[in-house]
Symmetry: C2
Subunit: 150 residues, 2 copies
């Protein structure tokens, strides 16, 4: 399938946030990564729980600990990115590829879906909601579909 | 955790769409359910593939077939719903509970995360993006976390 690009209204700042987050991952820079979250961020992430907010998302310590589990990477690529913005509200969605090698030698190559919502305050776009996921197989196994490609 | 309500800007129409979708599920009314999608809907749903668009989402036949797998339900409840809107763009997110009994007697009681993006055209809000998911356990099992509660 092909995702059509969204309306191109004032999306330069959004794209810059996305690119800087990817750079923060590559640099294993947790402070830089969390700097793009708004204080009231509500995150639905790949791992449990269902939802997290506040210091569980905003604190760099958890991200630092996660970065330390990677020998190479993490590298995140965005594909089929769609961004829409109006006034000080925006959202984006994309299919992302997470790659790298964990410290135990495990190779990661995971495609996942990413949806973000943004609010602009004093001219700066911050992420107020993040939703990352894979689907799961409804064949009785309830196995997460971590082996899909677009 | 508690999700704080979003800014209350023109969200009545959004809420009406969400409520009518829940009603369509209860009534097993596929035409009514898909009527809330925009033609360019891009859906990231609970089951594979990663993404679907066009007739795979908009066609009522797939939804009809899904409804026929339920003896009782499906019933969807929204909790911790947050809605934000500006101009003709909006998004919502919530933790949803899907319940019912399948025709084979299986009882379903599944909590999942839901994020929606909306665009208003000619005064009518339509869903342009939908993202439903559960997280998955990163304990080596890659098992979908279908047993979580908020």
């Amino acid at each position: 399938m092909t995702i059509e690009p969204g309306p191109e209204t004032d999306t330069t700042g959004i794209r810059a946030v996305l690119d800087d987050r990817a750079g923060a991952h590559r640099a294993k820079d947790a402070e830089r990564f969390v700097s793009h979250y708004a204080p009231d961020i509500v995150s639905f992430d790949l791992a449990p729980p269902l939802a997290e907010s506040g210091s569980a998302v905003l604190g760099p310590d958890g991200w630092d600990a996660w970065y330390q589990t990677w020998r190479a990477g993490p590298d995140v690529q965005f594909t089929q990115l769609s961004i829409a913005a109006e006034g000080d509200l925006a959202y984006s969605y994309s299919l992302n590829r997470l790659r790298g090698t964990k410290t135990d030698g495990t190779t990661i190559d995971l495609w996942f879906r990413a949806t973000l919502a943004f609010r602009r305050t004093d001219g700066i776009w911050k992420i107020v909601h993040e939703h990352n996921s894979t689907p799961f197989y409804m064949d009785g196994s309830d196995r997460a579909a971590v082996d899909l490609q677009p």
